[in-house]
Point group: C2
Chain length 189, copies 2
Amino acid sequence: MARAGVTVERLTVAAAELADEVGMRNVTVAALARQFGVKDASLYFHLRNAQDLRVRVALLALAELADRVAAALAGRAGKDALVAFANAYRDYAREHPGRYDAMQIDLDPETAATSAGVRHAEMTRAILRGYRLSEPDQTDAVRMMHSTFHGFVSLERTGGFRHTPRPTDDSWSRTLDALDAVLTHWPSR
Amino acid sequence: MARAGVTVERLTVAAAELADEVGMRNVTVAALARQFGVKDASLYFHLRNAQDLRVRVALLALAELADRVAAALAGRAGKDALVAFANAYRDYAREHPGRYDAMQIDLDPETAATSAGVRHAEMTRAILRGYRLSEPDQTDAVRMMHSTFHGFVSLERTGGFRHTPRPTDDSWSRTLDALDAVLTHWPSR
DNA sequence: GGGAGTAGCCTAGCTCGCCTAGGCAAACGA
DNA sequence: TCGTTTGCCTAGGCGAGCTAGGCTACTCCC
């Protein structure tokens, strides 16, 4: 019988696309096997288990997002860089809701250390260079920034802002203004 | 055969407790039935389906959190109120990780409208009264606040802050300082 | 207090997803 | 050309979600 040409890479990409279409919850080994015209059991030759697949999607998404952010940041500094980073982040989450969901799974420390998450951390710190913050304020600011981005994006997606008519784009832009303001005048102890 | 005395209320509470212990993903109709010494099929007399159960847990959690926040806010204003709100929110999420997870599920508009989510919205606006913000700044500020809280809490839980040694409690407290500062001096257009 | 009705539980049985064991054939390398 | 490996298969177990249909314990009403 002809071989379907299944590889881990193709599986991961297909899973990511499927996730964006039908949500991460509905990305199953069985559904993926159907797409490849193969029995579900056959995929366990390429994957350790279903969780393995999810982790691979998460790592793919992290790397893709890091690339986007890096491209957006090129040649920018200060508020310009902050806004570029933020928009790259939010746009990615909106274009790829399934991949974004996958990114939220809890990676074990070793996997996380070798993932593109490290690049994200570096780029975030790079932005703060324009705001002249020294430790530990820098760490706190990084955490606040990341919290704001992630919180806004995920609340926007799950409908947490739906009860007020104001366009979320406007709130987003004003939130970035506010973030820039507070990074510029970071309160001292 | 003796009746087990199952009610929707008891099921919901048991599901919430189970969620905090083993995570929302592992809250199954079957597991719940085992706890009540009953067959899984019997629970469908009380529940429409598994999703119905999750929604009930979410509504329970929303109501509980609203109660806590209301108690924390009593008699406070300004930054005092902001910090009380924030800590009530974060403490609840940490004490009840499963319930907090449940809260994130996407409620349909009608359900959301009659849920305790409305009380949350009102209380959040109440805090901002101390900061003298008028619309649409108020809405933007509410959204930023909520984003920061939710983002911080969920990143803290999924280990997003783990790569830096600084205690998250410290970053949290400084983030609240920063939030207070930016609410006090909300940037004009 | 003796039915009638209903509420609360049951068994049986289906589908689907996850995963293992063991087999067979296609591709490849020596 | 002939193993060896690689890629896919079938068979089958487990657990979760859910439906259909039946039996029993309780309630209430005459």
